[in-house]
Amino acid sequence: MEADCLVRVIVMPPFDREFFGGTDRFEIAAKTLFGVVNQLNELGPGFADLADVRAAFAVDGEVQPDWSVPLGDAKEVVVMQKVAGG
C-alpha cells in the first residue's frame, strides 16, 4: 500500500458551514479519497453519511468519481456539492 499523501482539502459551501463550523481549509494525510472522507467525518460528524449522496471530489482540478484511486502526489482535493440536472 502506498504511503499517505498530504493534501490540502478545500471544502466548498454549503458543506463548510454545514459540517465544519465555517472552516473550509484542511491539511489531511490520506492514501485515497476514502481516507479524506473518513478524516473529514471526524472533523465534521455526519459528513461521511452524506458524502456519497451529495458530494463530488476534484483531485488537482479533475473530478474523481472513484474514491479508491491512490492520491499519489496530489496536492489538492476540492469537496463540492453535486449539481442536479433535469
Binding site: 478545500i10 466548498m12 459551501p13 454549503p14 458551514r17 454545514e18 463550523g21 465555517g22 452524506l50 449522496v53 451529495r54 463530488a56 476534484a58 482540478g61 479533475e62 473530478v63 474523481q64 468519481p65 472513484d66 476540492v78 463540492m80 456539492q81 453535486k82 449539481v83 442536479a84 440536472g85 433535469g86
Partner: protein
C-alpha cells in the same frame, strides 16, 4: 479510441437514421403511463386540499367507503412513519419525510392541490364519486405564495421547523428560508468600487411548470408475497424504485419498476407522486391499482421550477473586461426544503473569468407544491438577470454584446466556480460562431429588435449500466436502464454499431426494468448519451474481445492473431492470413465456442464537460396590443460530438422554445385565496408550433476527450440563454428595460404607454 478527426472517419456516428421507437409512437401503439392496464385493475382518485395552508383536524372516509365499487381508501395515516434520512434522487438528494409528505399530507395541507386522501374503486367514476364524499375538517392557516411575502423578515412561517442552513455565526436567517449559500472569490465590493463601468438591476421571474404533455400515472400491484410491482413512465425507473421503497419502508429489491414510454419530463419526472399511493391502495384492496392525474392535478400538485427575485451588479474595467460581480437572489422552493439556489449560484457567472465576485442565493419556502427539477435547474433564472445586465453593460460602454462577452469568456484551463478546472469547453467558439452567423448582422424590420445572450450548464455523468449481447443470426441486442426521452435508443444503437462495425439497423435497443439490469441514474442532467453511451461502448468493446477469442478458437490460433476490422474478425497468423469471420458467422457458432456472447457493464464516468450556448433572438412588438412575436431565432451550441444530429438539433430547438415560453407567456397565477387560477393549458400558455419561427441551429463540435466519441451533454443548455435573449430584444423594441417575466402583452402595452 477517441473522437477521430476528420469527423468523416465515423461510419454511423453523426448520421440521421430513423428513430427505433418512431413507428410505434406515430401510430399510437406505444404504451405510455396512462395506457397501461393490469388484469383485475382498480382505478384511483385523489382527494386534494382546496386550501393553500390548513391543519387537517380530521378526515371522515365512511361515506366514501360506502360507495358501491369502492375497494380501498387511504389517508396520510396509512403511510409508514419515517426516520428523516437523506436519500438519493437521481443526481441530487432529498428528505424522505419531505418526499412522503409532498405525496400525501399527514397533519397539514401545505398547498392548493396537496393530496389528503385516495380512493380505489372498480371504476374511475366510482372513485371520483367517493372522493367527493370524503369529509375533511380543515383549520385554515395563513398562507404565503409570493416571494416578497415569503422572504420578508416578518413573514408568516409556514412550518415551525424551518431552519436556515448555511448562516454564518450570529447571522440571522429569514422565517421561511431553508438555505443561504454564498460563493465568493476575492473582495467583490472593493473591486466594484474600482470598476470603470457599473450596471445593476433587479429581475423577477414567476414559477413555471415543465409543461410535459403526458400526465403522471402509475399502476401498482402489491403481491401476496409482500413484494411490489410498479408500471409507470418516469425519467428513471431505478430512482422511482429507490424513492418508492424509501417512502414505503420496503427493501429496494422487493420493488420492481417497469418503465413505460414517457411523454415528456424535462426534469419533472425525476421524482415520485403517485407510485406509493397506488401501492398502498393495492395493498389495502388486494388488487392492482392505477392512479392517474388530470391536467389540473398536474398543475396543482407537481413540481414547478422556482420563481426568483434577483439583484445583480456587474463591474467592468475601461476595456469592458469584467472585474466584479455582486449578486443576491431568492428562489422559491415550494413548501419543502431543498431547492435550486445552489445551482443558481454556481451558474451565475461560471461562464466568465472574474477575479472578484460574491454571489448569494436563498431557498425560500412558500405554499406551493415542492419544487422539481426543470431543464438546467436553477440556471435560466440567474442567467436572465446576469445576461440582461451584460447587455446593459454593452450598451453603456458602447461595445458589441458578443465582443463584450469575449473579453471575459472562460476557456480551457480556467478555474470554475466549483473549484475544478475547465476542460475542453467551447464557449469562445460558440460566441465567435454566433457573431459570424448571418442572423447577427441581418437588418431588422419595423417594430423589431434583437437580443443576444449566452449561458452554460455543467452537465453530468454518473452511474449507468448497459449490456450488449448477440443473437445466433448476428442481431445485436443492447439493453439499457435509461428511459428514452430524447433519443437514447437511437444514440445507443449508433454508438454500439460504430464500435462493433455493424449497420445501425442490426442493433436493437431495449429499456429494461429494474430487476433486469444494473442501476442507471435518471435520464436527465444531460448525462445519458454521455454516461450510458460509455457503458454501451465499453460493453461493445468487451463483446468484440469475446468475438476475437471465439474466432481464434475457430481458427485454432492465439487471440493475439485476431484483429477486429469493420465488423469482422480478421486472422493475421500465417496459416489463415487474411481470412475473416463476420460477427454473424461467429455468433452462429457461439454454442460450439463457449456459449452465449454477452457483456453487461456498469460505469460511473465524471469526465463530462459543461455545455455552452449562444442565442440570437429577433422579436416584433405589436404596439397596439403589446403582443410580442419571435420572428427569428438562432441557437449556437457546443455539442461535443453530435451522435444523432437531428436529435441534438431537436434538443436545441426544444430548449429554446421552452425558454421563450418562460420569457413571454408562462407563470403560475394564484388568486388571493392561494388557489391556482390557471391549472390548464388554455390559461397556462406554453408556446405551440404556430407561435414559433423555424429555429435555426448551429452545432459547434468541440469533442469531449473524456468520451470515446466526444459526447457532451446537450439537453439542458438551450433553455438557459433564451430568457435574457428575448427579454433584451423586447426591452430594445419598447425602449424600456423589461426585467419581470413573463413579459406578457399587458406589461408591454403598459411600457409602451407610459406605465
Amino acid at each position: 479510441m477517441n473522437a477521430p478527426e476528420p469527423k468523416d472517419a465515423f461510419k454511423v456516428v453523426g448520421t440521421r437514421p430513423i428513430r427505433p421507437d418512431g413507428v410505434e409512437k406515430v401510430t399510437g401503439k406505444a404504451i405510455f403511463g396512462t395506457d397501461y392496464k393490469a388484469a383485475n385493475m382498480l382505478h384511483g382518485a385523489i382527494v386534494r386540499s382546496p386550501h393553500p395552508h390548513a391543519r387537517i383536524k380530521s378526515i371522515d372516509t365512511s361515506k366514501a367507503e360506502a360507495v358501491p365499487g369502492v375497494k380501498a381508501v387511504i389517508t396520510g395515516a396509512d403511510f409508514p412513519s419515517l426516520e428523516d434520512i437523506i436519500v438519493r434522487m437521481g443526481e441530487s438528494s432529498g428528505s424522505t419525510v419531505d418526499i412522503s409528505t409532498n405525496i400525501m399530507a399527514k397533519d397539514t395541507a401545505y398547498y392548493d392541490g396537496h393530496a389528503v386522501a385516495a380512493i380505489a374503486a372498480v371504476t374511475r367514476q366510482a372513485a371520483l364519486e367517493a372522493a367527493r364524499l370524503v369529509e375533511v375538517d380543515y383549520e385554515i392557516l395563513p398562507h404565503v405564495i409570493e416571494m416578497c411575502d415569503a422572504f420578508a423578515a416578518d413573514a408568516t412561517k409556514i412550518k415551525a421547523a424551518i431552519n436556515t442552513v448555511g448562516l454564518g455565526e450570529g447571522e440571522q436567517g429569514r422565517p421561511n428560508a431553508s438555505l443561504k449559500f454564498t460563493s465568493a472569490k476575492g473582495v467583490a465590493a472593493a473591486a466594484m468600487a474600482n470598476a470603470v463601468h457599473v450596471v445593476s438591476g433587479h429581475y423577477s421571474l414567476k414559477p413555471v411548470h415543465q409543461g410535459y404533455i403526458e400526465p403522471h400515472a402509475a399502476v401498482a400491484a402489491w403481491k401476496a408475497d409482500g413484494k411490489l410491482d410498479v408500471w409507470c413512465s418516469s425519467q428513471g425507473q431505478f430512482d422511482v424504485r429507490g424513492l418508492t421503497a424509501s417512502v414505503l419502508h420496503l427493501e429496494i429489491g422487493n420493488v420492481r419498476v417497469m418503465p413505460l414510454e414517457i411523454g415528456g419530463g424535462f426534469g419533472g419526472k425525476t421524482t415520485i407522486y403517485l407510485e406509493p399511493v397506488a401501492a398502498l391502495l393495492s395493498k389495502k384492496s388486494g388488487q392492482p391499482v392505477r392512479v392517474a392525474m388530470t391536467r389540473e392535478e398536474v398543475f396543482r400538485a407537481t413540481g414547478p421550477a422556482p420563481g426568483g427575485e434577483i439583484d445583480v451588479k456587474l463591474g467592468a474595467d475601461a476595456d469592458g473586461k469584467l472585474v466584479s460581480a455582486e449578486i443576491e437572489f431568492q428562489y422559491s422552493s415550494g413548501a419543502f426544503g431543498g431547492g435550486d439556489a445552489w445551482a443558481g449560484v454556481m451558474h451565475s457567472v461560471n461562464h466568465y473569468a472574474i477575479e472578484d465576485y460574491k454571489v448569494t442565493g436563498w431557498n425560500v419556502l412558500c405554499n406551493m407544491p415542492k419544487h422539481a427539477a426543470y431543464r438546467a435547474p436553477g440556471a435560466p433564472q440567474i442567467n436572465f438577470a446576469v445576461e440582461s445586465a451584460m447587455n446593459d453593460l454593452a450598451d453603456k460602454i458602447g461595445i458589441d454584446p458578443i465582443e463584450l462577452r469575449l473579453k471575459s469568456a472562460v476557456k480551457p484551463g480556467d478555474p470554475s466556480m466549483m473549484g475544478s478546472k475547465f476542460g475542453e469547453i467551447g464557449l469562445i467558439e460558440c460566441l465567435e460562431a454566433a457573431k459570424a452567423h448571418p442572423h447577427y448582422s441581418a437588418p431588422l424590420g419595423k417594430n423589431q429588435a434583437r437580443g443576444f445572450a449566452c449561458g452554460t450548464w455543467m452537465n453530468y455523468g454518473g452511474p449507468s449500466t448497459a449490456s450488449v449481447s448477440l443473437a445466433d443470426d448476428g442481431s445485436v441486442l443492447v439493453t439499457e436502464g435509461n428511459p428514452d426521452i430524447g433519443g437514447s435508443r437511437a444514440s445507443m444503437a449508433l454508438m454500439a454499431a460504430e464500435t462493433l462495425g455493424v449497420p445501425y439497423e442490426k442493433v436493437n435497443v431495449t429499456i429494461a426494468d429494474t430487476s433486469s439490469i444494473g442501476y442507471s441514474m435518471v435520464t436527465g442532467g444531460s448525462r445519458t448519451t454521455y454516461a450510458t453511451g460509455i457503458a454501451v461502448i465499453e460493453a461493445a468493446k468487451a463483446v468484440i474481445n469475446i468475438l476475437r477469442e471465439r474466432a481464434a478458437k475457430m481458427w485454432e490460433t492465439d487471440v493475439a492473431n485476431i484483429e477486429w476490422i469493420d465488423g469482422s474478425a480478421v486472422c493475421t497468423d500465417a496459416d489463415n492470413a487474411g481470412k475473416s469471420f463476420t460477427l454473424a458467422q461467429i455468433a452462429a457458432k457461439a454454442g460450439a465456442t463457449g456459449g452465449p456472447i454477452a457483456f453487461e457493464n456498469g460505469v460511473n464516468p465524471l469526465q463530462h464537460l459543461p455545455g455552452y450556448g449562444a442565442h440570437i433572438c429577433d422579436v416584433e412588438v405589436d404596439k397596439e396590443t403589446g403582443n410580442v412575436s419571435v420572428v427569428r431565432y438562432t441557437v449556437v451550441q457546443d455539442v461535443g460530438r453530435a451522435i444523432h444530429p437531428a436529435y441534438v438539433e431537436g434538443q436545441m430547438q426544444g430548449g429554446a422554445v421552452q425558454g421563450i415560453g418562460w420569457a413571454l407567456n408562462e407563470a403560475y397565477i394564484y388568486n388571493k385565496d392561494g388557489r391556482l387560477d390557471n391549472a390548464g393549458f388554455l390559461d397556462y400558455r406554453i408556446p405551440v408550433a404556430s407561435d414559433m419561427p423555424m429555429i435555426d441551429t448551429v452545432m459547434v463540435e468541440k469533442p469531449n476527450p473524456g468520451h470515446p466519441y466526444g459526447v457532451k451533454g446537450v439537453g439542458e443548455v438551450p433553455i438557459v440563454p433564451p430568457l435574457a435573449a428575448v427579454g433584451t430584444a423586447v426591452s430594445r423594441a419598447v425602449g424600456k428595460p423589461m426585467r419581470s417575466l413573463p413579459i406578457s402583452p399587458d406589461k408591454v402595452y403598459a411600457a409602451l404607454n407610459g406605465g
